[in-house]
Symmetry: C2
Subunit: 435 residues, 2 copies
């Protein structure tokens, strides 16, 4: 059997960038590589098309009592050496402590940890479960067609539990994810004229779409970014005191964070960091563009301004209600001479996970053994849309155990995986699946 590093090296070499249509060949090659790898290790494998990039579905019936489904994704974020990578991002490179490369933690490296131990346990005739594997290729583009896929292939995916490793531990503490907030991405276009006008000849007399946008957006939040849209927080139930206490115990080094981030202020007067990012709603402007934004100046009164908004919400809130609140607010605060159009473009549901089951308990106990630290249950502000769909459609327990280091630079340059954590991950996975 090849060692872990050899397989990882090959796996990372496929430029499986799903956000760019030019990488179709690389994606198909990677799917073939996964198929061959799984089949070589005794899995029955199926490639499923027609739901975006192909899904790899594999099965190993071990005559065990229970079946566990492993989910992962083989697609990655874009990367180029010019962005500031130390080496070619699609060639594994390593130093004393870490492996580097695009996808090394998100998610190739993390799903490979489980595949690798499963191959090994099966070889040793020591595998304690039947296994199903689902590897997809559209996670980085929002897994748009996955809900439909799950509905269609519900029976084929039947299992007793799902195990997913994605994301990062906190500091040195092992993590079990307790839930993710949902996402609404939308765009609003504000328009005050058909086209731009000379700022000297018309400025001050005609409405300026940027000014009007600012007047409108300024009504969205108070000085601490609390959202002032009526009904925006509707559905957020009082948060369990035990959860708040737990969240406060999760380490967050404010001084260190401020130093490395350059941020001088945190809006945590009302709620601690993890409660606020994991269990509270937020509205963030993620992009705004109006007028001329290139080099130098073009002295025009901008006719059009486009705003990108990212809303995060919790499980009991209604997407419909939130969008309705926003629309009502806009109607209330916009001048009649400003035209606007709202385009809701992406929605991902919020999810809270069931933690009182033996699959989660087993993970908790094993993480404690491997990490020599009590794991924490953590609600995260952003996560995997698939988890909500698994909950809704497959209705089986899910165990989410992130294995990457906190400074792994996921989605950024020099994405890396701490070698010691890979060792711990392999150990945890081995203990979890063995007889």
């Amino acid at each position: 059997m090849e060692n872990f590093k050899e397989i990882l090296k090959k796996y990372l070499s496929f430029k499986t960038v799903s956000t760019d249509k030019n990488y179709q060949k690389e994606i198909l090659a990677c799917v073939q590589f996964l198929k061959a790898l799984l089949e070589k290790n005794k899995f029955k494998t199926k490639i499923i098309s027609n739901f975006g990039n192909p899904l790899v579905l594999a099965e190993l019936n071990n005559q065990a009592k229970e079946t566990i489904l492993i989910y992962g994704h083989y697609d990655v974020q874009p990367a180029a050496k010019e962005d500031g990578w130390r080496n070619d991002p699609f060639s594994l490179f390593e130093d004393k402590n870490k492996f580097y490369g695009r996808g090394v933690v998100d998610n190739k490296g993390q799903n490979l940890i489980h595949l690798y131990t499963l191959f090994k346990l099966n070889q040793e005739n020591n595998l304690g479960y039947n296994i199903k594997v689902l590897l997809e290729g559209n996670e980085e583009t929002g897994s748009e067609k996955l809900e439909k896929f799950l509905k269609t292939y519900k029976n084929l995916l039947k299992a007793d539990a799902i195990l997913i490793s994605d994301g990062e531990i906190v500091d040195h503490l092992p993590i079990i994810d307790a839930g993710f907030r949902g996402v609404i991405n939308l765009e609003i276009t504000f328009q005050t004229a058909k086209y731009d006008f000379h700022s000297g000849l018309y400025g001050g007399v005609i409405p300026n779409s940027l000014h009007e946008t600012i007047k409108i957006l300024n009504t969205f939040f108070d000085s601490t970014d609390k959202v002032l849209i009526n009904g925006f927080y509707k559905g957020i139930e009082p948060i369990d005191k035990k959860i708040i206490l737990n969240n406060k115990k999760i380490p967050f080094d404010e001084n260190k964070f401020k130093k490395t981030s350059g941020i001088k202020k945190l809006f945590t007067q009302d709620l601690d960091f993890y409660t606020k990012t994991g269990l509270w709603a937020t509205l963030q402007l993620t992009g705004l563009s109006g007028g001329y934004t290139g080099e130098g100046f073009r002295n025009s009164v901008p006719a059009k301004t486009i705003v990108k908004i990212n809303i995060r919400f919790v499980e009991n809130q209604s997407v419909k209600e939130i969008i309705k609140s926003l629309k009502q607010h806009l109607k209330k605060v916009s001048h009649s001479y400003v035209n606007y159009e709202i385009k809701v473009k992406e929605i991902a549901p919020a999810v809270k996970l069931e933690l009182n089951n033996k699959y989660v308990q087993k993970a908790k106990e094993l993480l404690k053994i491997v990490f020599k630290q009590e794991p924490v249950f953590k609600f995260s502000g952003g996560g995997l849309p698939i988890v909500a769909y698994f909950k809704k459609i497959l209705k089986i327990p899910q165990v989410l155990v992130p294995l990457a280091n906190e400074d792994c630079n996921m989605h950024s340059v020099n994405e890396n995986f701490d070698k010691k954590l890979i060792e711990k991950g392999l150990k945890f996975s081995y203990l979890y699946f063995k007889k």
Copy 2:
């Protein structure tokens, strides 16, 4: 002698785009064309370098009593067929009523009107003045080095008056420019962190540079765009009632304007359109860019937002005071956790012209004859920086007679010059310079 159209056709064919350094060859070719044209028509010509793109200085000593200096610029704004032009913008094309092409009014076509009549009058031995011609190639980039040039070549430029044709008439009414507002272009960068953070993992807890920018910019103006920066309007003297009365008489068809522009509201409660744009100060945001503004979404909390601001002010105001006011305001309204940096990049002085002199009176009388309408004195919100430098350095009367049609699309696609107005312009110029 070639006819007007033939010369214009050749003149427009040079891609003299001064905002793009790739057009140096075209600019030099155009300068050689102008030199040859002027020399062929008996002008003594000099090319002056070291002040940006070359200046063409020409002289025709006619043994007359008085000397008139003609100013124009041969450089143009960028243009490409793909922007929506009906034809190649650097090939003259025409329909029944108009000539089309980049520079046809701004400013090649307008300066050629005077050159053409001067050549003709000289041929006819009917020229009433000594003539100096100054054609420059950096007007579209702000004529940065022109002040220094004027100081250096002050003696060579000596004249009794200056005549300039640039800009547009209003409706069917001939115009004499009475003054221009000054310009300050600046950029402010607002920063809340060293880099962007995941909007799910950090949104709501860390400051968002876009939110902070909006909170700050919202304090800049009231709902009618009146600037709320303390001291911003300082130095604007009470405006002469006669001027306001005159301005109110200049036609401005509000309903027609609203229909063609798509603008539903005008901020003219306090002052009429021409007084407000010509004799009042304004602050316009002309560009704003923060976060991700491409296709789709990148769910990050933006660390940095850049704002471009265009300020227009009148002659008695102090640029230094305006910038100081802005800085004090920013200091007052910004949170301590927001870093900002102001970069003042372009300044052009404001200017009011002396209208009580025989050169302006002559223009007024002749315009009335040619247009069969009483010309109006008009203050304009934006104009030629050169005019303020001429006033400051040469200290001689200036006569500014725009000749282009109101719908000429200067700086935009399908720039055009009404053939009837070219006829009128040629007639006016002929009458002005003849013995």
